[in-house]
Assembly symmetry: C2
Homo-oligomer: 390 residues x 2
């Protein structure tokens, strides 16, 4: 299966999507977007982890977005910024992923609207002029299309030249207090729900190893090239999927707290969320929904990704939501309803119990192998991931 | 005069300021912040100019900030983002300059408040760990101090690792329509006022040439090392000065339109502003206030900076404001009042006449040599730049 090819069954998730084909644009077949950065596959981990390592105080306040009370009665300014190095080879999808990742910080607070989006972009000085002219508009289009899907538009931004490609943005909304859900109301008895499978870092790395015989040899006994392609495409489409539906359903089902899963992995973000809780609670994770075959890859690599330990970086991951127990199953059923479009999933992955505001994964978590949608009908994918899935 | 030393007379402009001394931090005497980017002295020109060159559509709408009407009655969201490579060697001052440059886009619309600031930062992977630990907190402190001076605070942001240092931010305010001045109401008979002298690009380049014998030989017949040091420091302090006082006085003196001067130079931004006018007007620039000796340097370099043509890039330049003729002189007098602190200046540089929404500099503009404040008392500097200065 050639890089960039796509099973027809994937197409409905992004109407009008055409796989990126560098040759059809007059670029070399070997053009790789991710080569314009040295942060291959480690992007979010370094992005968010590095500042502490280098003695830079963290700016955030533990939440995904900042919430600023305004001078104008009852209104708050909520905004967030993020930027990224490429993790996929398709410039259009990279643009979508970057926008989805920025918006996700609003969605994690149950906010479904965005008043304005700014785009931050650096084009690589290492690209040829032709590469820039072909690739940059695709990234911008993907970013703008995702913003439009989020009900907002890109009104400004900044572009620079830099050794590496960077794409990101700033999402801003002015809202009333009932429009957002502060992430600190989890109580014992709540249930933890996750809305995208894990394993994006493994998937994008394994996909780059298709071109690297030495690396490939380490995993070829446990996966086929097609497994890797399908897992990569599943990761790419998941990363590009907005968490907006999940944000809307947080209100419907009375969510008590949420965060989105990115560079610190499922456990890192669960710990961060647990620390913010007003009640003395702990989060215990029993199930890990992971893109199929990514567990085998990480084991074959001597567990270099710490995927099963919950600290493998994710890019534009799902929401981790604390829901009342009786609402969680309904949340998971509702999000799969065709009325929200295809491509949404959710799993109950753990519980909230009394504790000391920490999070942990049980010793032998149940791995839910989430079959890529490109591998067959969505029916077959759900039957493969039986018991943890709602 | 050693790099980083500062005449006592400069100190009052930034209370508590101590010149950056790499050796006192345990770094090498040769540490140069601007070496962590290849964009030396050309930063803003490339930042803003390059996107068009590489076929990337410009995102802006011709204004410095975007103005988004909100769902909430009568309120607008105004925001802007900018980021930059280092132009000065002092990390603290670089942080201040970046913040002043971001806020300047709000100030150009007569907005004096900012509800929230996000900081965008990349630390250079080429720095040693020690350099990062010493230098990055200084940049952050400078940025935060300038934000505080602007009446706002930094509540979030994003930090990444990148080959080059980048620092910038996002400034956001929610305001009522009487708080901002749309930049399109210039009429014939108005006068053009500029609130900072030109020549920052020449000053930062010439300062780097102090370490480069080949370059230095080209200009050593027209300037002394002390001239260059003083011009560089004047540029650095001007770049770090907020345009907030100018923004407030735009309301007092009924400004009709304004923009801030950055990467396209005085003429580029004047042309951009002229194009946005509702009336059929042109801008004619007669006077160019320029940091002393920078004109001699640019001439000695075969005019490589196009400073006298008005297209030399500026960083965090002043506001160019269209004011009613009878108000302009009062504006220029008022901004120098001690009640706004020291360091503010303004010059009448041209007129608004009937025309086709263009801007030009007359054939032989009067050069106003603006003597650096570090060179003596502020009295002597104003007497040197007599006739164009109000």
């Amino acid at each position: 299966m050639a890089a960039g090819s796509l099973q027809p069954s994937m197409a409905p998730y992004f109407p009008g999507y055409r796989p990126f084909d560098p040759e059809s644009l007059g670029l070399g077949a070997g053009f790789r977007l991710t080569s314009f950065s040295d942060m291959k596959g480690l992007l979010t981990g370094l992005e968010e982890g590095e500042p502490e390592d280098v003695g830079v105080p963290r700016l955030g306040i533990g939440m995904d977005s900042c919430v600023i009370p305004l001078r104008h009665r009852g209104l708050s300014l909520v905004q967030t910024t993020d930027f990224f190095y490429p993790s996929v080879e398709d410039p259009y999808m990279q643009g979508r992923i970057a926008c989805a990742n920025v918006l996700s910080d609003l969605y994690a607070m149950g906010i479904t609207e965005c008043d304005n989006m700014l785009m931050l972009l650096s084009v690589s000085q290492k690209m040829t002029e032709e590469e820039r002219e072909k690739v940059t508009p695709l990234m911008i289009k993907g970013f703008k299309d995702a913003a439009e899907e989020g009900g907002t538009s890109v009104t400004g931004g900044q572009t620079v030249v830099n050794p590496w490609i960077i794409i990101g943005g700033v999402a801003t909304v002015v809202c009333q207090s009932n429009e957002f859900i502060m992430p600190h109301n989890a109580v014992p008895g709540d249930v933890l729900v996750l809305t995208k499978p894990l394993g994006t870092q493994v998937a994008v790395n394994a996909h780059q190893w298709l071109d690297n015989p030495e690396r490939w040899n380490k995993i070829r006994l446990v996966v086929t090239r097609e497994d890797v392609e399908l897992g990569y495409q599943e990761a790419m489409f998941n990363m590009a999927t907005l968490n907006r539906t999940a944000a809307a359903l947080m209100h419907t089902f009375n969510a008590h707290a949420a965060t989105d899963i990115t560079g610190f992995g499922i456990l890192g973000h669960a710990q961060n969320l647990a620390q913010q809780q007003q009640s003395e609670v702990s989060f215990v994770i029993h199930n890990l929904p992971i893109i199929a075959k990514m567990t085998a890859i990480t084991k074959a690599c001597g567990n270099r990704f710490s995927l099963l330990q919950g600290t493998s970086a994710e890019t534009s991951g799902g929401l981790l939501i604390c829901l009342p127990r009786e609402q969680a199953a309904r949340f998971c059923a509702e999000i799969k309803s065709p009325k929200y479009g295809e491509g949404h999933q959710a799993w109950i992955i753990g519980i909230v119990e009394k504790g000391n505001r920490s999070a942990r994964i049980i010793e032998k978590p149940r791995i839910i192998e989430v079959i890529p949608r490109g591998a067959g009908s969505s029916d077959s994918s759900t039957t493969q991931s039986l018991d943890g899935q709602c």
